[in-house]
């Protein structure tokens, strides 16, 4: 059972907490205390970050020359985040917030459309997918989505100011968020995906930036069951709870 910490407990453990030299229960108890405590806990705050000095004080050791090349080779084959990104267009307009966060949780969010509509859009090539120009991972994702749709899986409409698309529930092999003609993001911003349960609690799915293509496919690893809403916000970095504008949303039932 996680202990409950008082201010004195946190203050006494300030050094250990700053270095991460506490057990998981104590770390959790300290965090829970700090989240609600109005006291400044100046001592702990003064010691947080001391590990930077310990790291910098270690005698430098040059890695072998080949490590840099090995790293750059690895990075060239490694996509960032949950999808391969393309740089955001500089100076792109900021997508405007249309509704408040809680508003999106209401039943007024967009309803799922018929599966046939998704199939039709893909069939006429309206999204201009250029498979040959994409990395293998994206190809596989697109194929999985196409197969899921052809196989009669469920698709939920997601739309908003930033773009429109579908969450395709490929049961048994995860889901995908397929979105067309996304608004470009301002420099330093990214899109973050959320699943929202009946109690309104958002669960972070991942982040992405739109690429150069008309269609972006983002794998969704989480099981959709138990969630009511899918939403997209604009954030500066990946966060635990949404802070930015909500630019797309859709109901996952209907």
């Amino acid at each position: 059972m996680t202990p409950r910490f008082a201010c004195r407990d946190v203050d006494e453990l300030a050094g250990a907490l700053a270095l991460g030299a506490v057990g998981p229960d104590e770390a959790l108890a300290a965090r829970e205390h700090l989240e609600t405590c109005p006291e400044p806990h100046g001592e702990l705050r003064s010691l947080m970050g001391a590990d930077a000095v310990l790291a910098a004080g270690a005698e430098p050791i040059q890695p072998r020359a080949g490590l840099r090349d090995r790293l750059m080779d690895s990075v060239a084959r490694t996509p960032q985040g949950v999808v391969t990104h393309a740089p955001a267009a500089p100076g792109a307009p900021v997508v405007e917030r249309r509704r408040g966060w809680l508003d999106w949780l209401s039943p007024r969010v967009a309803r799922p459309l018929a599966l046939a509509a998704v199939v039709a859009v893909i069939a006429v090539g309206a999204w201009g997918i250029s498979l040959s120009s994409q990395l293998g991972e994206r190809d596989r994702a697109l194929r999985a989505v196409a197969n899921a749709i052809a196989g009669g899986e469920v698709a939920f409409r997601v739309d908003g100011d930033a773009g429109r698309g579908y969450v395709v529930d490929t049961s048994g092999s995860g889901s995908s968020f397929v979105v067309a003609d996304l608004n470009p993001l301002p420099t330093g911003k990214l899109y973050e995906l959320w699943l929202i349960g009946p109690d309104g609690s958002p669960v972070d799915v991942g982040t992405f930036r739109p690429g150069d293509d008309a269609v972006t496919v983002v794998p969704v690893d989480q099981d959709l069951s138990g969630f009511e809403t899918f939403a997209v916000t604009v954030e500066t970095m990946r966060v635990d709870a949404p802070t930015g504008d909500i630019v797309m949303a859709g109901a996952l039932q209907g």
């Binding site: 453990l13 050094g15 250990a16 989240e35 947080m48 970050g49 790291a55 270690a58």
Partner: protein, 205 residues
């Protein structure tokens, strides 16, 4: 490269990384690889393994740059935290996780780092920082090193050094306080007096 001076454009590097700029990762490597190696070697005592860990840590920075929160510390500190945590995971034979393996104490406690520590790293040479560490009493320096490079909790340090838990905890607190004072981190809040061995019973709960 130097291991003590942090050029002013790490924030720009982070933004470039977020936009998928691989060259930025190369710059980050050139800037901090020798410090990252130093941390990894101190933890695992194996140069080849340390290089693997440094490689993996940089790949993690590339993959998870969207998790980097500049308000909780510098890009350098985040990188070195990943290196250190992964090295300790390897030492313990545990699998690295995003939630813990790549999170620093600021993230876990949802607090921000005192920026004066990072400022000290930027302002002072590695030699000066080592000298400040060397001036700590042996038992305090040992406690800090067991915590940071050994990944030990204060309870484990107490067992390893044969002292009460409160003493081990007090040594960590005293050591960091002395380190802060010796580096003249004047922005830090004053440290209240703690004697070795205080509250041993409480710490033993």
């Amino acid at each position: 490269m130097t291991d003590s001076a942090q050029p002013p454009d790490d924030q720009l590097l982070a933004e470039r990384l977020r936009s998928g700029d691989r060259e930025a990762l190369g710059i980050l490597y050139d800037r901090y690889a020798s410090v990252a190696m130093a941390v990894a070697v101190r933890v695992v005592s194996d140069r080849e393994l340390a290089e693997d860990l440094v490689h993996d840590a940089y790949v993690a920075v590339w993959q998870k740059i969207d998790r980097f929160d500049p308000s909780r510390g510098s890009l350098r500190s985040w990188l070195l935290t990943i290196v250190r945590n992964r090295a300790i995971d390897r030492l313990r034979g545990t699998r690295p996780t995003i939630e813990v393996g790549e999170a620093d104490q600021q993230s876990l406690l949802r607090t921000s780092a005192n920026p004066t520590w990072e400022a000290a790293v930027q302002r002072r040479s590695a030699t000066e920082l080592r000298e400040a560490l060397a001036r700590l009493p042996d038992e305090q320096r040992q406690a800090v090193e067991l915590a940071y490079f050994g990944g030990r909790t204060y309870r484990e340090i107490a067992v390893l050094t044969g002292v009460p838990q409160g003493t081990a905890n007090g040594r960590l607190r005293l050591a960091l306080g002395k380190l802060r004072d010796s580096l003249n981190l004047t922005d830090a809040a004053p440290l209240s007096v703690v004697s070795d061995g205080i509250s041993a019973e409480r710490m033993g709960r």
